[in-house]
Amino acid sequence: MPEVRLVNVSKRYGKILANDNVNLTIENGEYVSIIGPSGCGKTTLIKIIAGIIKPDEGKIYIGGKLVNDLSTEDRGIGYVFQNIALFPHMTVWDNITYGPRVRGLSPEETRPLALEMLEMIRLSARSDAYPSELSGGTQQKTAVARALISRSELLLLDEPLGALDVKVRGELRHELRRLVKDLKLTALHVTHDQEEAMSISDRVVVMKKGRIVEADAPIELYTRPRSIFTANFVGEANFLKGIVTQISDEGSLVDVVDGLQMMTNSRNAKVGDGVVIAFRPEFTSIGDTEMLNRLVGKVVDILYSGSIGRVRVQLANGDQIVAKKALSLQRPTFSVGDNITVNVSPKNTLVYPYPKEGLDKELALE
């Protein structure tokens, strides 16, 4: 029952507070990812759970047991690093069975375990191969199998896909999640790749400067981020400053750009409040004159990524916004330099109080 519970965990490196009073519970069987910009403390946190780093303060429970004083080996975890750490002179089989052999298990005891692991990672046919004969993705799967053969029910994954090509990474996501769910493991996965976290996890924890900003199911984080930071870090968003001018039953009216007003569904702010309106580039439409919230501006650039066009538009006050548009087989009817209208439906707007330290500070990723 490897439920993980962190209570008031803090860790300081000199002046830097890497973990600042972190409280987090990972339920048994849950797949949780931690994301955040470089230096947010996510790696420190997973290393504290693994027992590689000792916290200055706080308690760590695994399966209800306080493990602060237990060594890594005694915590019952499987740990996988970004840098694939296989023994280069050993075959896949020998790498996978290394742990049991060191612990003194006989070949008869080890064999069924190893066969099961190979089956799980779909690598039975390559058990005699050496790491150098395998692709990066296959090597990393072998490392996962090696971590799991000890029958750990808690899997800690520290940027497990970070060293791999994007394409391989995408495919291994599915496999990793399947493995964790099929084996009924609990997994904690640290990544700098928010898309990876969103697609693989039951719950995503967003960290910033040593603290947990919020933790929620991926789709909730995406559609209803509770902070400007999360809206910006998870997915992409446009941010416009404004002042609330009117509140009605349907929502609030916000004065944004030189006389332009935007209708939002939120009723959280008061008239006169400074706010930030956020909306996702993919939740916009272009050139629909019937709609509310028409943002008029000049196209600065259009970047294509496959079927999606990413259109950057400069508004009258100099602010830039991005609209994403699925492209049909035809080219878009506008080009760089043209004036276009970007529409945002009130239901697709998010409204936040204007941050004390300014918007730029809130959006800074480094």
């Binding site: 470089s38 996501r173 693989i200 990524s305």
Partner: protein, 368 residues
């Protein structure tokens, strides 16, 4: 005249052919991305142009001049390593002005060039900081600034955004392109990230096993893939095996597993030919009723995954083929549950048809 031209360039390392008769022309001021998997030969290609590796065969021309045998510093091209190599004991300003200073430019020029470039990479206020005081993204921008300040007109960028956080990488894409364009430089940028290549480049060269498999604008490479590999590697697709059962004036029919038929607008193949149909996940819609004028198949949702603004459904069709469909959340009328029966639909003109590959389909599409 092309600024950079490679003619029939081959480079072997032992048994491995890193570059296999590569022909490539790059125009002055172009931003080109070389896209490929690990081991495709991307880095070797850059290093051959930089003069860090001599090819076994073939010629390299820069500005019309044959540069085989000419040392890197005389090629007007600067190679930027993936692991940004800043001088740790020098501050940002010293790192950036290093090139101009050793080139003995006058103080005023050094001052002007360096501060302009620092302004451009938005690090003017950090010019006194040492590398270890900066984030990875900032260090990378310093490295870029230093490369640009060297005065070279050609930037050879080896995974320039690879060491950065995913989110920061996305932000830096447009900055990088703008920087190159504003400075009227020419850039060759190597990456394994297809989205990065499609967004940033004016032309993309897809490299596979030392050969350029396709080269064209991002739109071309995405919307008219010339091979199964390109369709799979750039954008991704579902691949369905079948045989051409009929060719008519407006397209062909393909019989797939279970006797089902797919209509495609391609009519370049012959009846009986074994083929692979590719359909992109974003070109498939999911609904509860058939769409008139589309290919329609019924199936059951096996799993779903939420990926960056889209819901990706894995659906098992009645003939046991499995397809993935990507539905943008903004036009998602309903979400479907695992196990639910649905109809998947896609248009004939959104199907790519390729001859069945000699080495088998898996060989072409397997990345892992």
């Amino acid at each position: 005249m092309s600024l950079i031209r490679l003619v029939n360039v081959t480079k072997k390392f032992g048994d491995i052919t890193a570059l296999d008769h590569v022909d490539l022309s790059i125009e002055d001021g172009e931003y080109v991305c070389v896209l490929g998997q690990t081991g495709a030969g991307k880095t070797t290609l850059l290093r051959v142009i930089a003069g860090l590796v001599e090819p076994d065969e073939g010629e390299i021309y820069i500005e019309g001049r044959l540069v085989n045998g000419i040392p890197p510093e005389e090629r007007n091209a600067v190679y930027m390593f993936q692991q940004f190599a800043l001088f740790p004991h020098m501050n940002v300003w010293q790192n950036v002005s290093f090139g101009p200073v050793i080139k003995d430019w006058d103080n005023e020029t050094v001052e002007k060039v360096s501060s302009n470039i620092l302004e451009m990479v938005r690090l003017a206020d950090r010019k006194d900081a040492f590398p270890n005081e900066l984030s990875g993204g900032m260090q990378q921008r310093v490295a870029l600034a230093r490369g640009i300040a060297s005065g070279a007109r050609i930037l050879l960028l080896d995974e320039p955004l690879g060491a950065l956080d995913a989110r920061l990488r996305v932000d830096l894409r447009s900055q990088l392109r703008k920087l190159v364009k504003d400075q009227k430089l020419t850039a060759i940028h190597v990456t394994h990230d297809q989205e990065e290549a499609l967004m940033i480049a004016e032309r993309v060269a897809v490299l596979r096993k030392g050969r350029i498999e396709q080269m064209g604008s991002p739109r071309e490479v995405y919307s008219r893939p010339q091979s199964i590999f390109v369709a799979s590697f750039v954008g991704g697709a579902n691949f369905i095996e079948g045989n051409i059962s009929k060719v008519y004036s407006s397209g062909s029919s393909i019989e797939i597993r279970g006797g089902y038929q797919i209509s495609v607008s391609d009519r370049s193949k012959e009846v009986g030919e074994k083929v692979v149909v590719a359909v992109r996940p974003e070109d498939i819609s999911v609904g509860s009723a058939e769409v008139i004028g589309s290919n329609n198949f019924s199936g059951r949702i096996e799993s779903k995954m939420f990926i960056g603004g889209s819901m990706e459904y894995t659906i098992r069709l009645e003939n046991d083929d499995v397809v993935s469909c990507k539905i943008s959340l903004s036009d998602l009328p309903t979400t479907y549950k695992t196990g639910e029966r649905v109809i998947v639909s896609f248009l004939a003109e959104r199907c790519y048809v390729f001859p069945y590959p000699k080495g088998g389909l898996l060989e072409e599409i397997e990345a892992i």
